[in-house]
Symmetry: C2
Subunit: 357 residues, 2 copies
Amino acid sequence: MAQHEAQQRRPSIHDVASHAGVSAATVSKVLSGVTTVKPENAQRVFDAVELLGYRVDPLASDMRRAKRRIIGAIMPEFESEFFGQMVSELEGLAEQRGYTLVAASSRESEAREKEILARMHDWRVAGVVLAPVRNEHGPAAGFMKANGMTGVLIDRVLADDAFDTVSADSAAASAEVARALVGQGHRHILVVGLGQQAATVRARLEGFRNTALELAPDIRIDVVLSESNVEPLRTLLRDYFSKREADGDRPTAVYSLFLKGTLVALSEFRRRGWHCPNDISLVGFDDAEWMQVTWPAIAAVVQPVREIAGNAMEVLFRRIEGERGPPRARLEPCKVLMRESVGSPGNGPHSGGGDRQ
Amino acid sequence: MAQHEAQQRRPSIHDVASHAGVSAATVSKVLSGVTTVKPENAQRVFDAVELLGYRVDPLASDMRRAKRRIIGAIMPEFESEFFGQMVSELEGLAEQRGYTLVAASSRESEAREKEILARMHDWRVAGVVLAPVRNEHGPAAGFMKANGMTGVLIDRVLADDAFDTVSADSAAASAEVARALVGQGHRHILVVGLGQQAATVRARLEGFRNTALELAPDIRIDVVLSESNVEPLRTLLRDYFSKREADGDRPTAVYSLFLKGTLVALSEFRRRGWHCPNDISLVGFDDAEWMQVTWPAIAAVVQPVREIAGNAMEVLFRRIEGERGPPRARLEPCKVLMRESVGSPGNGPHSGGGDRQ
DNA sequence: TTTATTCGATAAATCGATTTTTTGCAGTTG
DNA sequence: CAACTGCAAAAAATCGATTTATCGAATAAA
């Protein structure tokens, strides 16, 4: 029940002590489960705690301890399903172990990333799950290393010499996409990506290209990469298609290396009145809930969010508990869902006009 | 530059003091901008800070102060665009004011909501932005009140007698949807919602119903509400359509009161081979990026995320700075985007089969 | 010249816990 | 009976900052 007035100051350990008729040290011992306390006194402490509605002040408590029971999570953004699910998963896993997760987003800025990290260091977090904006070689990872922080890098990383990494096996998934598209008969494919995120984009691109070339040496693979943000990509893509259409050699399939690219591609198709898969096929890296309810359903590579989160936490807590040894790089397999947006080339009218309405 | 070894313990204010040849009190004063310090000493303090790479320990610092420069944000989930954007916005606004935002999700559980709130209270956050799972009368708001916390409630709330509230004007938006659908000639409309979130769902439903009945007294409005989770809704919807189809009186339009409902509706249309808008029209509350790139583009009510976030922070900081007075309930207007998923009834084949492929 | 006043800076108290050191008491042992 | 051992609990030190009280020297007023 433990009711007390709103305006009253929070009870301290000394208040509990005097109510129970013991010293503050004894209260601390009772609450931390030390057994060398007379059961009778322990009971009186519990009663006083209950009566006053006492809660340990984590600020004071943590100042004395070396580390806090807090895990920091830094994501590049919160607006996509992928990172949203990731944070949710991590939060649940931290909670299971009696830790609190505090989440922050770097909003795709390496400067902010480092700033947040510094703050988390100030807070003495026990560990950090960092999904870097770019890759494992950014300033944030350097800061963590320089300050001896415990952490694990996820998503846009390959391998690091200081921290464990966990990410999706983009290369294998991209190879599977290549097999599927080549198998359907596609011989001219456009790959769309963001260049900034060097690590994963390169893995995805190479994984796709290598397998495609191996299966069909005569294949033509065009690449449109935007170095900076998403908006330029829209323009690049528009120009690309205009030129291809003028030359009469437009690709029969598009593979987007990230979610926003898939949206941009769809929007460009729409602008031109192209329909999947009749006019062009589409596969995107990153799945989303809506992709299976639209006409056509959009083919996508599903990243194993739960597995990545689970392994990241697993590995992180091992390090927190003091495990030594060289850092490991884990790759989790993706699932490739070939949905209706992929078909064989030349099956449709290729008219350039829509077939509806 | 301020380099120091990774394993070395963090420099304290006393380390800075001895390096600068002054007392700790002086260092504290210099760093907090007190002017009664000889410029010469101040400079030596700055130099020592630079040399040692000193940062104020927020734990120690905040223990002495009453409140910390931290804002807590609690969202029902992180996986939807709406709350993702909301957290991003709030984070930016807090940062602008020199505060740090720590985000957590209650994952649609009132118990967890209260638990997180208690933890934030322990942390002595300056204020809380709470997007409650249900409405403003849940246990979390009660906890905030009982403990004299400063906060603002957003989204699934109408008005409260203890806290300021900011939310979208669901009723007005729903009225606009009603006008649009009735205007197109629809006279039999299904409304889909989740009953739990009493406050907003009722506002949306009533706003829609009142206006629709006013414009067309003969209109038939069916309502399918799932009390608990999303999955039951799928079954309810399936049964509803089966019965309606058997009776030969199925609705010509669906208005979903929340995002997941829109997805469930689309997926049900898909299962039955119905296409929008020829076979049925669809409007959803909550917009998402993908809705404008699919065929057809999905009509949606866009909630003013930036405005809600901006006003919530505005109001919250006024309270933090000590403003008195009765709590205010703000309603921000939504934008209704009527896209291709809405048409006039009877315009399509109503065949039950798709018209493509 | 003496007494106030001002000013800059330091010592010490404080926040609320944890941890180490002391103390006091009871029961054993030589 | 003194010395020793054990054990529970209290006292005191500690974490790293802020804030208050205090102090000494320089300056102003009497």
